[in-house]
């Protein structure tokens, strides 16, 4: 299958965030991912397009799921994948991010996937290395591959993104998933709502192109998609929310609150979930939940992104 040639060339060297990506950029990535879903559902789940290429996963923050997803994506494309996690790296010995980047760069990888707790870490790295960089989450800034896999999940379930009402609920303030989704969904023509207590909203949320709700009752009304975000336990000690009990009562997704959304509304969560904190178990496992599909789409979406960034036609056109 040589689907590669059927898609427009993705005109970016890195994927650092959703900011800066156009409607056609995003559409191309989603179209590619659809074909990779098919690959992932075959018995023989491997392509050879990236044979001989090297992918390094550089995770400064522990993440089993995202790292596994990227690893599988690289392997299904035929690339050699190396994982570097914090525990085994020299970062703990005081080496700076830039020094680590220079060292890895000398190993001549073709693509670096980075997760780091500091916003801008992926952008910083991209200026110091000679290969493509994918941001797998930088601080509370962006997590573009998550937003794209969410979009893929929604598009496959609803057939479109344009005109849908998407409610993103919970800890918007600390969420890179929320920021990437706000940008992507706005670019694709969806109506974006954010729902949560004011203490968990960015200071300038009103200027970020979303409708802001502090009540789930109003925020979920007639929504096509309900996207829940993880609430970290430490938010209680920071005096941002008083207790799990109160949070779940007012902002946790249960059957009564979900009933306010459209009857065919999708329930999403980027994981890992806190059952009984931001989402009730019966909803997470219920018929409207597409949380497992999100995980499946994650692998296909990341295959599509890596393929698009390492598209061999980019080199040909440069040589021509």
């Amino acid at each position: 299958m040589s689907a590669q040639t059927d898609f427009p060339i993705f005109p970016h060297r890195h994927l650092l965030g959703m900011a800066g990506l156009s409607y056609p950029d995003i559409e191309t990535l989603l179209d590619r991912a659809d074909t990779d879903v098919d690959v992932s559902r075959q018995r023989e789940k491997k392509k050879s397009v990236l044979r001989g290429r090297t992918q390094i996963n550089l995770f400064f923050e522990a993440s089993t799921r995202t790292q596994a997803s990227f690893e599988l994506a690289g392997k299904r494309l035929g690339a050699d994948v190396m994982n570097m996690s914090v525990a085994s790296s020299s970062v703990k010995k005081g080496e700076t991010l830039i020094d680590t980047a220079m060292t890895l760069n000398a190993m001549r990888p073709d693509i670096l996937i980075i997760r780091h707790s500091a916003a801008g870490a992926a952008a910083l790295l991209s200026r110091k290395v000679g290969c493509s960089v994918i941001n797998a989450g930088d601080g509370a800034h962006e997590h573009p591959t998550q937003a794209l896999l969410d979009a893929l999940t929604i598009r496959r379930a609803k057939g479109r993104l344009d005109g849908l009402t998407v409610a993103i609920c919970g800890d918007i303030l600390h969420s890179r998933v929320a920021r990437s989704n706000i940008i992507l969904l706005n670019t694709m023509g969806a109506r974006v709502r954010v729902v949560g207590p004011s203490t968990l909203m960015p200071a300038a949320i009103a200027q970020m192109g979303v409708e802001v709700f502090t009540s789930m009752k109003e925020g979920l009304k007639d929504a096509d998609v309900v996207m829940m975000l993880r609430l970290q336990r430490e938010r209680m000690t920071q005096a941002l929310v008083p207790s799990v009990r109160e949070y779940f009562r007012h902002y946790g997704l249960d059957a009564a609150k979900l009933a306010l959304a459209r009857p065919d509304a999708l329930v999403m969560h980027p994981g890992p979930m806190n059952r009984g904190v931001e989402i009730a178990s019966e909803i997470a496992d219920g018929p409207q939940s597409v949380i497992e599909e999100q995980v499946e789409m994650g692998v296909a979406m990341r295959m599509a992104i890596i393929e698009a960034l390492l598209d061999p036609r980019k080199n040909e056109s440069r040589a021509a």
Partner: protein, 433 residues
Amino acid sequence: MMTPHQGTAVYQNARIVDPTHGHDGVGTLIVIDGKIAAAGADALNQGVPDGAEVHDCTGLVIVPGLVDMRVFIGEPGGEHRETIASASAAAAAGGVTSLVMMPDTDPVIDDVALVEFVLRTARETAITRVFPAAAITKGLRGAEMTEIGILLDAGAVCFTDGHQTIANAAVMRNAMRYAKDFGAMIAHETQDADLSAGGVMNEGLFASWLGFPGIPREAEVLPLERDLRLAALTGANYHAAKISTAMSADAIRAAKDKGLAVSAGVSINHLSLNENDVGEYRTFFKLSPPLRHEDDRQAMIEALRDGTIDVVVSSHDPQDVDTKRLPFSESADGAVGVETLLAAGLRLVHNGDVTLSRLIETMSTTPARLLGIEAGTLQPGACADFTLLDIDMPWVLDANTLHSRSKNTAFEDARFTGRVMQTVVAGNRVYSA
């Protein structure tokens, strides 16, 4: 260098700007034995004195040498970032003839031995005048008061906890009361540690998109308002060292209207730059207080014009690659600036925001008066500390040419109009472009 130049020198045909008596006109400056003998249009009424060196300054402006009230230096304890010698070389290249060194060193300047160390090192290695500011509290910890009386006698020119804000209102009140008895000035940067906790840039849309914890403007104005009430209570000579927000300017304006003996300073960065300059996580623009919104910058210019702000400082803060070549949120605050203070200030003059005389007043005359040091004037009898400028010369800053040991400038590759051509301290030429 502190030995005054012996002999007579005549600087002719210069535009002489001296805010101390509102003078701005073409004339002559005569220096005899390191002191100003005469300045103005009729200084040469008696003819050129016998044996004088004569300098033709056609096209140049002579202003009193700048007095930079807020300079952070790494000596002792951080000499790889900056020494007193390298800071003074940078100052001279920036037209600054007197600088006040902040106590944020290691060890902290909270003891008379440190004040003496600074003065001795400056005497031996500096080419400009260097005045130590001493800490208000021991170790900058905000608890125990330093020996204000002894430190003052040793040569400390004012008291400040540098980058630290004294959180305890009772400590602040007592320091103000005690300092007042000695006629000492308390200079304070205000930022509430809890409200700004974890913050790395101005709170607003930009920080919201980047996912950075913001530093709200209220973090600055809340302790400032507390201080202004304590200044009213104690009658202290209080200086708000580095304000950055419109609401802080309003608070100072109101305090001055009430007749309080308070003054305020602003860094040249907050007059020249705003939060958008941070751009792609540029750590050289990570400052404390953070660069604010353009509305705040405009408010700073207005406050400079209307007299609410008395002093412009560089807030020179050398940082090396170890502390700046990091992700934005992990990098240190601060930018070097003593060398670009005047050039950046001249942008305000060329933009028509302030007159040259007002700019020099805020960068030289007023700081000298507030500190009680002999500087900031070209009146006969004053020390011959002055700067010659070509105010129309266009140039581009190459960070590698900075005299500072650290190159973390917020003005890298900036285009300036107006350049320091010569700096003179006690009649000696200490810098020449």
